[in-house]
């Protein structure tokens, strides 16, 4: 049982390049989330999804897009990367809404934008 898997684990981009982070979960969870973690700031929610085909904005959505075409996958896209998007990105999923469910995280993806 792999749980929550993120790819790639590391990536270096130049300003203006685009990329996609993939999150896959094998726990049949309805709810999926993308967070970013910056030094001294904890985790901040970028976008989330409450089920297949749905997406919603979180706390810091600007510069990111997401898609949830399949229940088990949640993609995070950067159309034109900026140095301010250098961060560690975490995907998470839960069976129930965060009002009632435990959140499970992937291992993180470290992105550097030069």
């Amino acid at each position: 049982n792999a749980g929550v898997t993120q790819t790639p684990k590391f990536r270096v981009l130049k300003t203006g390049q685009s990329m996609t982070l993939l999150c896959a979960q094998d726990m049949n969870h309805e709810y999926m989330y993308w967070y970013r973690q910056d030094p001294g700031m904890g985790l901040r929610l970028i976008h989330y999804s409450v089920g297949e085909g749905t997406t919603a904005k979180g706390e810091v959505p600007d510069g990111y897009n997401v898609s949830r075409l399949k229940k088990q996958n949640f993609l995070l896209g950067l159309e034109s990367a900026a140095p301010s998007q250098t961060s560690v990105y975490f995907c998470a999923s839960t069976l129930l809404p965060t009002s009632a469910g435990e959140l499970f995280f992937g291992e993180g993806s470290r992105l550097t934008v030069l």
Binding site: Y31, Y33, Y35, G40, M41, G42, L43, R44, L45, Y48, V50, A56, G58, E59, V88, F90, A92, P97, T98, S99, A100, G101, E102, L103, F104, F105, E107, G108
Partner: protein
């Protein structure tokens, strides 16, 4: 939105010592979780505890929802307990957002 504050920001202890980490939150919550981020960056669930007390080995947690705080207790600390401890909360009538505190960095010295 809900505010989540953790204290202390940093804690350095000798192996074998006990510690108490605190999480204050500004609104009534229906979800309160504690996580441990190990030195390799992995985030691991410790407790789902919107109210009451739970124990798991050397770790225990108590949430007093009416007073809007939660405590994480670590007894007989080991070097493997080092890392950053986060609490996160979701308000009673909020949307699907779990708000994280900025964490307590715990360093256990052998």
């Amino acid at each position: 939105g809900i505010q989540v504050e953790q204290s202390p920001p940093d804690l350095i202890l000798q192996e074998g010592a006990n510690s108490t980490l605190r999480c204050n939150f500004s609104d009534s919550v229906n979800n309160l979780q504690w996580f441990h981020q190990n030195p390799w960056g992995q985030l691991i669930n410790l407790f789902y505890i919107p109210s009451g007390t739970k124990q798991n080995g050397r770790l225990s947690a108590t949430t007093v929802a009416t007073e809007r705080y939660s405590l994480l207790y670590i007894s007989s600390s080991q070097t493997t307990d080092s890392g950053v401890y986060f609490c996160a909360a979701s308000p009673n009538f909020g949307n699907e957002k779990l708000t994280f505190g900025t964490g307590t960095r715990l360093t256990i010295i052998p």
